[in-house]
């Protein structure tokens, strides 16, 4: 088969008859095999533990699947229509909207403000950065515990009510009344404490990338304080801001831990303030084990998050370079 001319430059079958796995691995050119060894385990795991559940979920969402994962009753879009008609599911979406309206702007402003302050601090910069970043290491469960049982515990001796007392105000039952809905304050401050430091780091990274020459130019033009912020800093942070807004929104959509830990007690969860994930948790894994409706809800949520991400990307220009 092989021409004599090539046999000198390329090894023929006779030169190395047993092409064992070790030989193939030693040769640097069997790239497909090496790619499989490096990337294979990850892709396989992703297929089994991410893709299989997603496909399974979509399939289950078209079946009547109560207490079973191998359903036989095909109901078409029935589960989807039930979910969209279900006032509890719709109210969970409303809860998310209210939560997002509180948490997204406040975290954005606080983390940007902290980043600007820390960035311009001449000394002890690392100390302040560490202090604001430290809550990132804390879990939602631990934060909920401090918020629920120490700061906002609704009795006169709680920290928040003690502070109110200094101003001669009546104590507030923070988590157990819905009118006025003070529980929102508790939910929002807990999450803000936990996540503001993380977004501050992102803003700090953005601030470091702004060229000093832009500030020098602004100084020559006589711009100071707010005008520098308005016309130099904020436009330069546009890409970071877009990413932060998107992350804040997606994370708010997935809120579960603090709602669960702050509002439920002795196995009971109040019907108000159930964000989508808490609702799904009780619908799918509660007593009914209704995987059909739970899966339909999960698919609806996934589509909504994807839509929001796409819309926001389009609207704010995610991924668009500023320069």
């Amino acid at each position: 088969m092989s021409a004599p001319a090539t046999s000198r430059t390329r090894p023929t079958a006779e030169d190395r008859p047993p092409v064992s796995l070790t030989t193939r691995l030693r040769g640097r050119y069997d790239r497909n095999l090496w790619f499989a060894i490096f990337v294979g385990p990850f892709v396989l795991g992703l297929a089994v533990f991410v893709y299989v559940p997603i496909v399974w979920s979509v399939v289950l969402s078209f079946f009547d699947a109560r207490n079973t994962v191998t359903p036989t009753d095909f109901v078409g879009l029935g589960n989807y229509l039930d979910m969209l008609r279900d006032s509890a599911f719709r109210s969970s979406l409303l809860t998310f909207v209210v939560f997002a309206l509180f948490i997204v702007p406040t975290t954005f402003v606080v983390s940007l403000g902290l980043a600007l302050l820390v960035h311009r601090a001449r000394f002890a910069r690392t100390f302040f950065r560490s202090v604001f970043f430290l809550p990132t290491a804390c879990s939602y469960v631990v934060a909920s515990l401090i918020w629920k049982l120490s700061i906002f515990n609704g009795v006169r001796f709680g920290l928040a009510n003690t502070v109110l007392g200094w101003f001669g105000l009546e104590p507030v039952a923070w988590l157990s009344v819905t009118q006025p809905p003070w529980y929102w304050l508790v939910l929002v401050t807990a999450r803000m404490w936990l996540q503001a430091g993380f977004y501050m780091i992102l803003f700090l990274a953005g601030l470091q990338r702004i060229s000093p020459s832009l500030y020098e130019a602004a100084a020559i033009d006589g711009a100071t304080g707010w005008r520098v912020l308005r016309y130099v800093t904020l436009p330069q942070l546009r890409a970071t801001s877009t990413a932060v807004l998107l992350l804040l929104l997606i994370n708010a959509f997935q809120a579960f831990d603090e709602f669960y830990n702050l509002l439920s007690s002795s196995g009971q969860y109040p019907p108000y303030a159930r964000p989508p994930l808490v609702y799904l948790y009780y619908a799918a894994l509660g007593q009914g084990q209704d995987f059909g409706h739970g899966s339909a809800g999960a698919v609806i949520l996934t589509l909504m998050i994807a839509l929001i991400a796409l819309a926001q990307g389009r609207f704010l220009g995610l991924g668009r370079r500023d320069d």
């Binding site: 691995l25 490096f38 601090a121 631990v142 970071t240």
Partner: protein, 282 residues
């Protein structure tokens, strides 16, 4: 900076800035203080009608009492959390590190397709898949086992993505020098690339460890039996229970955050760099 001559307005601004920073820092540290303070108080101190900044006496015995209490599986939960977090961290570093390097450096005809297959999962919010994941893992018979808690968390698309981006920027000259010696991808990766990437590995490692240690929804779903509880589930169970031993709960929570706070103090530089390099703010 442009501080050729600093006006008095500049100085006033700087003072105001530091006052705001100091108040902010105190507010951010206050919850940590409350946690430790309550953990070392008596029940009476915590529920005293007049709120006190300092407890009347430090109750160090709360700590041994917590581990002696048979109704609170604290030692077991801490051990579970430790095992899960350590295995997941090492697993993610190895699995995602290899995959990221392969995607960045080994030319393969369908590498782009594989990369999009991975990227697509980033669009799907992980928490929303908990219902079908529960179904899958319970079908495997892994409910309330360490396997069920560990294995699904080993395949992190975001970590792989970050490793790929990082390895794309790794200096090629270093690898080429090694490959002249006949070292294949495997040897180059472990002997040249990994030892020169300690900082990035440390960053991804700490972020993974924090996420794993603080995970709540998945352990809540998949570990109903006490023996498989993580420390977060144990805390949550007592937090939402009817009768609570307050000092015990607070000292337990203090222990739960201690490993992370210590790790944080030592590895903070790497975490910050990791977050900065994650590319989300570019």
């Amino acid at each position: 900076m442009a501080g050729i001559q600093r006006s008095s307005a500049d100085r006033t601004g700087s003072v105001i800035r530091y006052v705001v920073l100091a108040i902010g820092a105190l507010l951010f540290l206050l919850p940590f203080y409350l946690l430790v303070r309550n953990g070392l108080s008596t029940e009476q101190d915590i529920t005293s009608p007049s709120w006190k900044l300092f407890p009347s006496s430090l109750q160090w015995s709360n700590l041994p009492d917590l581990f002696r209490d048979p109704t609170v599986p604290m030692a077991r939960s801490l051990l579970n959390s430790l095992v899960i977090s350590v295995i997941q961290t090492i697993g993610v570093l190895v699995i995602s590190g290899l995959a990221g390097y392969g995607l960045a450096r080994i030319p393969f005809r369908y590498a782009n397709a594989v990369f999009y297959f991975i990227l697509a999962t980033l669009l799907i919010p992980a928490a929303v898949t908990f219902v079908p994941s529960f179904v899958l893992v319970s079908t495997l018979g892994w409910v309330s086992t360490l396997r069920g808690l560990i294995v699904p968390g080993l395949f992190q698309a975001f970590a792989t993505f970050l490793f790929r981006q990082y390895f794309l920027g790794f200096p090629r000259e270093l690898e080429e020098a090694a490959q002249l010696d006949g070292t294949a991808y495997w040897g180059t990766f472990w002997r040249i690339v990994v030892p020169n990437s300690k900082g990035f590995v440390a960053a991804i490692g700490t972020i993974t460890f924090i996420g794993s240690w603080n995970a709540f929804l998945w352990p809540l779903v998949i570990a109903p039996d006490q023996d498989a509880w993580t420390v977060q589930i144990a805390l949550s169970t007592f937090l939402t229970a009817q009768t609570i031993n307050l000092p015990q709960l607070f000292i337990a929570a203090t222990i739960a955050i201690l490993p992370l706070v210590v790790m944080f103090v030592f590895l903070q530089r790497w975490i910050v760099q990791g977050v900065e390099r994650s590319g989300i703010s570019e």
